[in-house]
């Protein structure tokens, strides 16, 4: 057996179990989801049954709440991912430069992510962001910025939930990038330092290219989380006020489980899946293109 065949067998042996397992458990639900999206299935009106073809999808075109949720999803995802990477990277760079006590700092940095999202949403709603009673309000008032209805005002609510999500998930970017940065050999910088290159230049031209794959990985994974964010935002605003924070994921949930329109809800979920796939495909290609 030549080297290539040997490598192939080895690779398949390693990757096989994972692929097999996933194929088994995700194919049937996916088929079910697609099938339901093509049906008219509404628990609230059991006499309405039957094949709808693409009817559910056509409905979305004239549904303002759908377009609203798409726009919100875009804003929410883009802002939280960008913020997470920026803040996470900065924190990682900062922590690395501190000679001692990194352990404590690392623990402090991951605390937000360790708290259950449901609890995070509730706490932020009542203890932190509540006008008059909450902490944030206390701070803004003592700073002279006045009291605001952080979760009750439509614009502020969106900003608030973005803040909550960013706050909670940045530690992920922080830890992953920290681990990556820590593996970079220090002698890489020697040459640059000898050349009297500034810290900023060192960062842009040496560090950044090396950690780019990790950043892309973080972006991909965080994008997927943002697209399917649920528990915290549900506990904090429930998608409100009105539909001000109703991202597509939440809209699909409300349609399926609160309004009981399972057919339409499944169609919405399928659209969400398609979007997630498309975005990931784009990011994925950028990643492999670079490493080709």
């Amino acid at each position: 057996m030549n080297l290539e065949q040997q490598e192939r067998r080895f690779a398949l042996a390693l990757v096989g179990p994972a692929l097999l397992l996933l194929l088994l458990i995700t194919t049937a639900p996916l088929v079910y989801l697609l099938w339901t999206s093509l049906q008219r299935l509404d628990l609230g009106m059991p006499w309405v049954k039957g094949f709808a073809g693409l009817g559910n999808y056509a409905k979305m075109d004239g549904d303002p709440r759908f377009w609203n949720s798409l726009a919100l999803t875009g804003i929410y995802t883009a802002s939280t991912v960008v913020l997470q990477v920026l803040v996470g990277l900065s924190l990682a760079l900062l922590v690395l430069r501190i000679p001692k006590g990194q352990g404590v700092l690392r623990i402090a940095a991951i605390l937000p992510i360790v708290l259950a999202p449901v609890v995070v949403g509730l706490f932020w709603r009542t203890l932190v962001l509540s006008p008059e009673f909450g902490l944030v309000d206390l701070v803004t008032r003592s700073l002279g910025l006045g009291s605001h209805n952080w979760l009750g005002d439509p614009q502020l609510a969106l900003i608030s939930v973005i803040a909550i999500h960013t706050w909670q998930w940045t530690p992920f970017a922080f830890l992953v990038l920290l681990a990556t940065l820590a593996t970079l050999p220090p002698d890489l910088y020697e040459a640059a330092r000898l050349d009297r290159a500034s810290a900023w230049k060192r960062f842009i031209y040496i560090t950044l290219p090396l950690i780019r794959p990790a950043i892309v990985m973080v972006v991909i994974l965080r994008t997927m989380t943002a697209l399917s964010a649920f528990a915290a935002i549900f506990a904090a605003t429930g998608g409100g006020p009105g539909s001000a924070t109703e991202i597509l994921n939440l809209y699909a949930y409300r349609t399926s489980f609160t309004e009981l329109n399972l057919g339409y809800g499944a169609a919405l979920a399928t659209v969400l899946l398609a979007i997630t796939l498309a975005v990931s495909w784009l990011l994925f290609r950028r990643r492999t293109a670079r490493t080709a």
Partner: protein
């Protein structure tokens, strides 16, 4: 600015940033020691008479969450172990080896993680019910794997790709065999990545709510569901909820403490410079 001054400035900055960062959690910690009256007091009290009553109720009282901690531990532990065992070799193959359908399979794994939970709950519920696996550990772990496995794989792929290719080649040339190359040479290189991935897989599974509440019941009842015992229809018992949240956090912090020792500066002594990608 001299060295000392800079270090102090850095410490100060880090301290401030991180305390602001961790403040909500610290506030929750404070809340867990307050009486219900103090919780809603205005202005918010920082100095108060602490009480352990909340912890006593949460741990040993009628709504004790100890059995739920155990439930979470079983589901999350098994999920993490299985995920890491299956995902790590697979990630290595994806990162390093050549085989037919590599790109497609890579994207497939990524795609499975994108199935929106909203759309999956009902088919999962029906499927588990058909095989009698509702409210069972086996069923729950299986479903948890659907999101943990791809997640673990994709995190590990990037860490494997960072391992200098030349290291492996050296090992292979030594006639060491592929498995030994993997086990003895490559794996130690990604210790940091393994630690980080383990923490996050554990965390993701530990904090899962939707699947836990729909597919579980009385037997399999993770902590995330049990916390709602304190959010009753009539009132939210904030102090007890905070105590429960702290208790629920404890195992993860412990695992984090244990694993983070491995997130150290790379063991690059003797490593070939440059790194390489296939």
């Amino acid at each position: 600015m001299n060295r000392r001054g800079r270090t102090i400035a850095l410490y100060a900055l880090a301290g401030v940033l991180l305390s602001v960062w961790a403040f909500p959690v610290l506030w929750a910690l404070l809340t867990s020691f307050k009486t219900e009256r103090d919780v809603l007091a205005y202005p918010p009290v920082v100095v108060f008479t602490p009480t352990l009553a909340n912890y006593r109720e949460v741990l040993f009282g009628a709504s004790s969450i100890l059995p739920n901690l155990w439930s979470s531990l079983i589901v999350t532990g098994a999920t993490t172990v299985l995920s890491m065992l299956i995902a790590t070799p697979a990630a290595y193959a994806l990162a390093r080896l050549r085989y037919p359908g590599k790109r497609a399979s890579g994207f497939y794994v990524l795609a499975t993680q994108m199935l929106p939970p909203v759309g999956l709950i009902i088919p999962y519920y029906l499927a588990l019910q058909k095989v009698g696996a509702l409210d069972s550990y086996g069923g729950m772990i299986l479903i948890y794997l659907t999101f943990s496995l791809p997640f673990a794989m994709w995190l590990m792929v990037s860490y494997f790709e960072d391992v200098p290719f030349e290291m492996e080649e050296a090992a292979l040339l030594d006639r060491a065999g592929r498995w030994r190359a993997f086990w003895h040479v490559v794996l130690p290189q990604v210790r940091g990545g393994l630690a980080v991935t383990t923490i996050f897989v554990f965390l993701n599974a530990w904090n899962e709510f939707l699947f836990a509440v729909v597919l579980g019941g009385n037997r399999v009842r993770p902590v995330t569901v049990a916390m709602f015992n304190f959010i009753s229809v009539e009132q939210t018992q904030w102090a007890r909820l905070a105590a429960a949240a702290m208790v629920a956090m404890a195992p993860v912090i412990l695992i984090g403490l244990f694993a983070q020792r491995h997130i150290v500066k790379g063991l690059t002594v003797g490593a070939v410079k440059g790194g390489g990608r296939r």
